[in-house]
Symmetry: none
Subunit: 222 residues, 4 copies
DNA sequence: AATGAATGAGGATTCATTCAT
DNA sequence: TATGAATGAATCCTCATTCAT
């Protein structure tokens, strides 16, 4: 529901900002970053191209803001969900399942994660980067603590590292499981099938292994 | 040692092809994919731009060939090294260390891995993609077998999956550990430090955890 | 008199569009279609290259628009002149003379006619082609009616066909009478002289013959 | 049937030359001049690109030679046919019909005529142009004489002029009757139908009118 | 705050032609 | 005579960004 006319009040501006990010995210999935032009995004929010630059300093900054929004929202939802869980025998599997399932339903977020380092972080200003990284650092800290509480046997400080590794796995697995049309065709061949990756399954299992590995480490290191 | 003049014999052509890929790889690290033009690559092999297109059908195909070369060479070296190892008490750590160390010394390979899904696989023909994926599939099969032999307690077929997960981790960790200049500056701040990632260390530990997790799974599933 | 600054009003846009077409037509005569670049045209209207693409979707579309303008202007002037004539004994010769003379003074129009089928109509969209052809069809209809009124003894419906044949003669004669420098040199030789064609004279006589032939046909067919 | 191996004897060379021109003509109809590359022509004669340049100094010269061949062959056939005719009451119509029918069955020739002035005569040497024009001048002379003999009432010298006008009409009508795919679609519309031209019919009628006009002129001028 | 016309740098790709073998 | 690898000029068009209104 785009804001009409001029956004004078700060609250209107925030709403307009969000409507831009929504459009950007929506279009991203359809057209891909490289093929998506600022003109297209503008058209879809029923704004002029120039207006986008009143809210974001560049195309990259705009999509980084979209990512910041998607990621923090998702993260908060996840942590909230995790915090509610009480320790359980099969806690690890439940956590892994939760993460994998919720992520798999966020294609826009995953698309953004795929380009964040290569593209989005290339043409931005210090402050933009800082804001994004602070959001990330904060979630990392909070999330790490929750992990350590939820997963018995996790050495102190390992929660954060675990999260970082899961983050890396998400990025890597997404790329492998989201091939271009031509590659998708190649992956249909029987001799290439082994390279096919189902994002959700593989992420879940990876997380489980990472957690168990981390738990085992304590013993091994001792 | 570039081929002189016209490469008429097939062996000369292969040499020229390789010299182009060398130049492409070298330039990639210096300038990054987006800022690197075909003209620059051509200049650095002392060839004309058009000549590059005699050997590769597009910029993407050229860099995918560079990756195919780098990756298969590295992979073969690794597997050879692994095959020589005899089972050991701390086999897992040795394997992880070998992989992480050898990869960390291959920045070109890592840069290519970072763009392979987003960029290289976007503008190529079926056959180009097929060739690349077949190389991968073959290494995966062979490598998976070696893993299963070297790592006791690894369920049958898990060697391949393990490799795929390591591959994903490599891609993700590389992106996190290779920030753009602006982001690097941000990462110097004390409150952001936690987002810094040392590729080699983190990869090694991730591999160890993934292996242990996979080994533990057998027990857990039993 | 080029439009200053940004053309915001529709009337300014039309003026700018026209100034582009003027420059394009002017340059065409000097450099020829193939040797004329969009950059050159842009420079001559003191606009940026990209601006040309705000007004025309391609080089071909731009020159087709130039032709549409030149042709309709010329046509309207001609028809106006013809409409004023009152039937005369030597009406045919006067009409032929008028057409040939006025066309001979429009080298840009003639150059455009020479490339319209081979070049301009090759890379355009349906709508662009439609607009051009509709202009043509309308003039053909109107012009055909005037011909039939002005030229006694012309069978009903023959006015349009006559116009089409004159159109064809214009295209063919222009090509023969406008040789490249090398060919012009060849045409200076006594044994080749017979291939020289004076556009205006030959067109005039051709028109006269076509008219008389059409008038005679009625008798012959009867 | 391409000549095998090296063409040493002059007769072999001529055969090879002709096989190149055949391939060039054949491909021209399929792909159009602009889209047709020397590599393609070479491939279709099973020769190397460089070999083409042993026989022709440029792409333009090659197609001009193709035209020279097609045109002289067609012309000779026509004149032979005309020479055999004995004067007749409806001689004019028979001649017109003969010309139109035979031309309509030579699409390659017509395609070449369409580009001869715009393209082929632009990048050739004096001698190439001279050879072509001499062939033309000779046919014009011979053909003019035949016309004057066959068509009673044709003023002396008018045979050549008549031929030139027919030539012009051929070029112009071919362009109008051979639209690009997009334009062809436009021409299907009822309001644009009037611009459709059937080459053979229209040429025949045009020739008849031109002849009758020329014959009438004598009377009018007297 | 919003607009959208103007900018112009930027680059992959093609292909006629050459020439060493 | 034949080859085909090498050349490199040549150019259209895109699109992120700016800025006058």
């Amino acid at each position: 529901m785009p804001v009409k006319q001029r956004a004078r009040k700060d609250e209107d501006k925030q709403a307009r900002r969000r409507s831009i990010l929504d459009a950007a995210g929506r279009m991203l999935r359809e057209r891909g970053y490289a093929d998506l032009t600022m003109a297209e995004v503008a058209r879809h929010c029923r704004l002029a191209k120039g207006t986008l630059y009143l809210y974001f300093s560049s195309k990259e900054a705009m999509f980084l803001a979209a990512l910041e929004q998607e990621l923090s929202t998702w993260f908060d939802g996840l942590l909230e969900g995790l915090a509610e869980m009480r320790p359980d025998r099969d806690e690890t599997r439940r956590i892994a399942e939760t993460i994998a399932t919720s992520l798999a339903s966020q294609p826009t977020l995953l698309d953004l994660l795929t380009i964040v380092h290569n593209v989005l972080e290339q043409n931005i200003e210090f402050d933009t980067a800082l804001s994004f990284k602070q959001m990330l650092a904060q979630r990392l800290e909070f999330g790490g603590a929750i992990f350590e509480r939820a997963l018995p046997g996790l050495p102190r400080g390992e929660g954060q590292r675990l999260l970082l590794r899961i983050y890396a796995a998400v990025v890597g697995l997404r790329q492998m499981s989201d091939p271009s049309p031509v590659v998708a065709k190649v992956l249909e061949r029987p001799d290439i099938r082994c390279l096919r990756v189902d994002f959700q399954t593989e992420l879940r299992e990876t997380i489980i292994d990472l957690v168990r590995g981390a738990q085992a480490r304590r013993v091994a290191d001792a």
